[in-house]
C-alpha cells in the first residue's frame, strides 16, 4: 500500500488535533444600530439615562467625551478578570428632543451572552422596555474530586505557575497561555507546552507526571 507523504502528514496532524484538543478562536461580536428617537427631552436627560443603563449591565460607565458614554465589563466576572464586553451610548440633539444610539462588543466564547443580548438589555433599560437577565458564567466548582480536573492547580516546584482548568477541558495559566486537559480514570493528558501524561491521586488533589507536579487548591 502506497501512502503519499503529504497524506500521511495530514492524517497525523488531524489525529493530533483531535487528541490534543482544538482551540476555538476568540472573536469579537458586534451589535450596532439600536437607536431611539425621543421627541421631547434634553441631552442631560439622555446622558443620565445612558449612564444608568450602561452601569446596570457593565461597569464604570464614563462620559469619554460630551454626550458619548463607554462602559466595560462584564458586570459579573466569575473567574474572568479581563474586559470581555463593552458598550457605548451616544446622545445627539434632535429637534426638541434627542436621539440615543447603542453599540455593543462582546468577546466570544468568553461570555455566556452575545452583543445583541447585551445591547437589547441596555437599550430596554434606557427606554423602560422589558429586560431579560443576561446569562452569567458558570461558577468554577470547588473541592477536589477524581471525576474531573476542574479547579486551580499550583505547581509544586514553581510558586509562580498556576493553572486554571475549566469545565470545557481548557486550561489557562497565570500569563494567559492556554492549553487543554483530558482525564480518563486516574490518567490525565495535560496539553501545555506539549503533551504531558499525568496521574491523578486517589484524593483528587495531586497531579504528577510528565515532568510536572501540581496540587489542586481545594
Amino acid at each position: 500500500m502506497v501512502v503519499q507523504r503529504s497524506h500521511l502528514f495530514a492524517a497525523a496532524l488531524g489525529i493530533a488535533i483531535l487528541i490534543t484538543g482544538s482551540l476555538a478562536p476568540a472573536a469579537v461580536d458586534l451589535s450596532t444600530g439600536l437607536r431611539y428617537v425621543i421627541p421631547t427631552g434634553t441631552l442631560d436627560e439622555c446622558n443620565a439615562k445612558a449612564k444608568t443603563a450602561l452601569d446596570t449591565y457593565l461597569q464604570n460607565a464614563t462620559e469619554s467625551s460630551p454626550n458619548d458614554w463607554l462602559a466595560t465589563g462584564p458586570l459579573v466576572q466569575v473567574g474572568q478578570p479581563d474586559t470581555t464586553a463593552s458598550a457605548t451610548a451616544h446622545c445627539y440633539a434632535y429637534g426638541s428632543g434627542y436621539v440615543v444610539t447603542f453599540t455593543c462588543f462582546v468577546e466570544t466564547p468568553n461570555n455566556p451572552y452575545d452583543a445583541s443580548a447585551l445591547c437589547t438589555d441596555v437599550g430596554h433599560n434606557f427606554n423602560g422596555g422589558v429586560q431579560t437577565a443576561l446569562a452569567t458564567p458558570t461558577p468554577m466548582p470547588t473541592g477536589c474530586t477524581t471525576a474531573n480536573l476542574i479547579g486551580t492547580w499550583q505547581n509544586d516546584n514553581d510558586s509562580k505557575l498556576t493553572l486554571k482548568l475549566d469545565p470545557d477541558g481548557g486550561l489557562t495559566d497565570s500569563e494567559d497561555v492556554v492549553g487543554s486537559w483530558v482525564l480518563n480514570g486516574d490518567k490525565a493528558i495535560i496539553t501545555y507546552y506539549g503533551n504531558h501524561n499525568m496521574t491523578l491521586s486517589a484524593d483528587g488533589k495531586h497531579l504528577s507526571g510528565g515532568g510536572y507536579s501540581f496540587t489542586r487548591k481545594c
Binding site: A12, A16, T20, L30, T32, G179
Partner: protein, 138 residues
Amino acid sequence: MKWFRITCIATAFVLCALVVTAPASATLDTVIGQRSVVPDQPFSDCSAKADHALTTVMQSVTEAGTGSGNWFGVDSIGGAPSEIAVVECHPQGSTGYAVSFTCSVQTPTSADTAAALCTKVIAAFSASAAAASGSASW
C-alpha cells in the same frame, strides 16, 4: 520509511502543541473616537465618506440597515473578527450631520490598539472629506 512516519507524527504533535498553547485573546480594548459636527453637508455625504473610510482601513464594510448611516468595518484573523470600527452618521440641524467613531479590538490578537484603529478610520474619513470638498478640513 519507519523513521519518516515517526517524524511526521512527531511534527504534527509539535504543531498542535504550539496551536493549543497560543496566548489567549481574553481582553477587549474599546474607545470612542472624536465626534464631529459638519454643518453644511448633506447626510448622504457622511454615509459616502464613512463607507470610503472603512473600506480603506478594514477588510469588510457593512451598513447596519440601508440608509441608516450606521456603518461598521471588520478585520478578521483566521475567520474570527478581531477588530471592529463603527462610524455613525446622524442628521444635525437642517443641513448638516454629526459623525462619531467607535472602535474595539481584541488584544493581544490585534496589532492595533482601539485608539490606533480609530485614528486610522478618522484620518481616512477626513481625507475623504478633504478630497470631496477640496479643503484640508471637515
